[in-house]
């Protein structure tokens, strides 16, 4: 809505910094990292563990998790955002905390709700749906 993109940025040429979601059979999983030293689960594909600087290895997490916090956003962050939209921190089972879009639903969504990763949103955001 209100963006004056910095003139120095070529918006169509940017690398995507968001967590990587992959499809594995029926499921969608977060393709992150696990620390080989302390076992910490990491949402992003970082070169070292952000907790202990230990070496990391590829690890997949999900699809299920629990909503740690959520908010319904009424002011679009990006020009293509359709408001309102729901964002949540989701703690994936034995996995990292992931910022995800919550797919529109008629079900009640609240802190503690069980959710599962699903296909990326139209804008390419990691997305969860209320678990059946």
């Amino acid at each position: 809505m209100n963006s004056l993109p910095p003139a120095s940025k070529k918006l169509d040429a940017l690398a995507d910094p968001r967590p990587v979601i992959i499809q594995a059979g029926q499921h969608h999983l977060l393709d992150g990292r696990s620390c080989q030293a302390c076992g910490h689960a990491i949402a992003l594909q970082l070169p070292l563990c952000p907790r202990c600087r230990g070496p990391v290895e590829p690890a997949q997490f999900g699809p299920r998790g629990v909503i740690w916090a959520l908010t319904v956003v009424h002011v679009p962050a990006r020009p293509d955002d359709k408001v309102p939209y729901t964002l949540a921190y989701v703690d994936l089972d034995q996995g990292p905390r992931l910022l995800a879009s919550v797919a529109p639903t008629d079900a009640t969504v609240e802190v503690g709700s069980s959710v599962a990763l699903t296909a990326l949103s139209a804008l390419g955001d990691p997305t969860v749906e209320v678990a059946p």
């Binding site: 809505m1 940025k9 949402a43 908010t71 964002l87 879009s101």
Partner: protein, 373 residues
């Protein structure tokens, strides 16, 4: 050797697109130099987030401050207090006699509403802006502690009442809980009146060694930290731990604790921020921040007022200028120069500023400063 604040100054706060950033800075610099009774400084540390390259030199040269080291720093919302922290360190180390700390930010010419996402940040690229980040904390507080919408709104009620007494604030009208809760939703549960306004301003302080001037305010402690990793292993909501850790350093430096503080300016960019921060500073137990507001303890006239200036919620939040505006307010309070919003008998004050925006960590930077005493 003790380092003191010799003088402070600010511009007006609000949307001022017709004024150049340098013009905003001139108001703050000239007031601070006059207040300090000096006609120059030996170095300048300047905090800004969106300032154009050279914004500091353009501002300083316009008022005849040239030929000195000028260092520009960016630390999100804590940029101004980071400049202050570094100015303090430089004097304490004996590098300079008199240093200007300056914060400048002009936002109304860049943004209409919220700041636009930084597209290289993983969470901002997913549509998470700071109002939503704070809203997520509020969501968690409501679930964990039974915090209510009214608890949140009362922060804005208090700070708007304080802000109505601050002639330089952007919002100078006391608002009711009903008005706050019925204002436009931004990121639930936060509504428009629970978010600091987009604002343009500059603020400044002149620092030097202790001198025989009873208007000088001693800097008892200054601490700066960036956040540790923030993720599923974190025990608290975003930003709590970095404020707690930074304040622990500051309290230890000053040899003081939360009970020794008479007046506080803290980072209430959003209502929930004041509650979480008050707890992280040890002013209330976790989950009990709202009781400070409800009981009147945090109000002017209460035991320990929080944000007597009206806070960011009233003053507005020109990122780089905010921290030094907080420093200016506490300086005025400790000198007894705060007029109708004076905290009676205030001897020791605390300033806390919190900057965020890089996801995965518990804050880009937090500064806690203890003044006076």
């Amino acid at each position: 050797m003790t380092v003191s604040i010799w003088g402070v100054g600010t511009s007006m706060f609000g949307r001022q697109p017709a004024r150049l950033p340098a013009q905003l800075a001139w108001d703050a610099i000239q007031e601070a130099l006059e207040d300090a009774a000096v006609d120059g400084v030996d170095a300048a540390y300047v905090g800004t987030v969106f300032g154009a390259p050279g914004v500091a030199q353009r501002a300083l040269s316009g008022v005849g401050i040239t030929g000195i080291p000028i260092i520009t720093v960016e630390n999100a919302c804590a940029s101004g207090t980071t400049a202050f922290h570094e100015a303090h360190a430089a004097i304490a180390a004996g590098r300079y006699e008199r240093v200007l700390a300056l914060g400048i930010e002009q936002m109304s010419t860049l943004f209409d509403g919220p700041i636009t996402p930084e597209t290289t940040d993983s969470e901002q690229a997913s549509g998470l802006l700071l109002p939503a980040l704070y809203a997520l904390s509020a969501s968690r507080y409501m679930a964990d502690y039974g915090m209510t919408l009214s608890d949140l709104a009362q922060v804005a009620v208090k700070n708007s009442r304080h802000g109505s007494l601050n002639p330089r604030a952007q919002r100078r009208r006391a608002v009711t809980e009903e008005e706050i809760l019925s204002s436009r939703p931004i990121a639930e549960p936060l509504t428009l009146f629970q978010c600091a306004g987009l604002s343009d301003a500059a603020a400044a302080a002149v620092l030097g060694h202790e001198r025989r001037d009873d208007r000088d305010v001693a800097i008892r402690a200054s601490a700066l930290k960036s956040g540790l990793a923030w993720d599923q292993a974190s025990k608290h909501v975003w930003g709590f731990d970095v404020v707690a850790d930074t304040s622990a350093i500051a309290y230890a430096q000053a040899g003081l604790g939360p009970d020794d503080i008479d007046v506080v300016e803290l980072h209430d960019a959003f209502t929930i921020g004041e509650l979480v921060t008050a707890e992280a500073l040890g002013l209330a137990a976790p989950g009990q921040g709202a009781s400070l507001v409800r009981s009147g303890e945090a109000s002017l006239g209460g035991r320990r007022p929080i944000n007597p200036s009206g806070g960011l919620l009233s003053r507005g939040h020109p990122l780089g200028a905010t921290g030094l505006a907080q420093i200016a307010e506490i300086t005025w309070q400790l000198r007894g120069e705060a007029g109708p919003r004076q905290v009676q008998g205030a001897r020791t004050g605390l300033v806390e500023t919190m900057g965020g925006g890089a996801s995965g960590i518990d804050g880009n930077g937090c500064v806690v400063t203890i003044l006076g005493g």
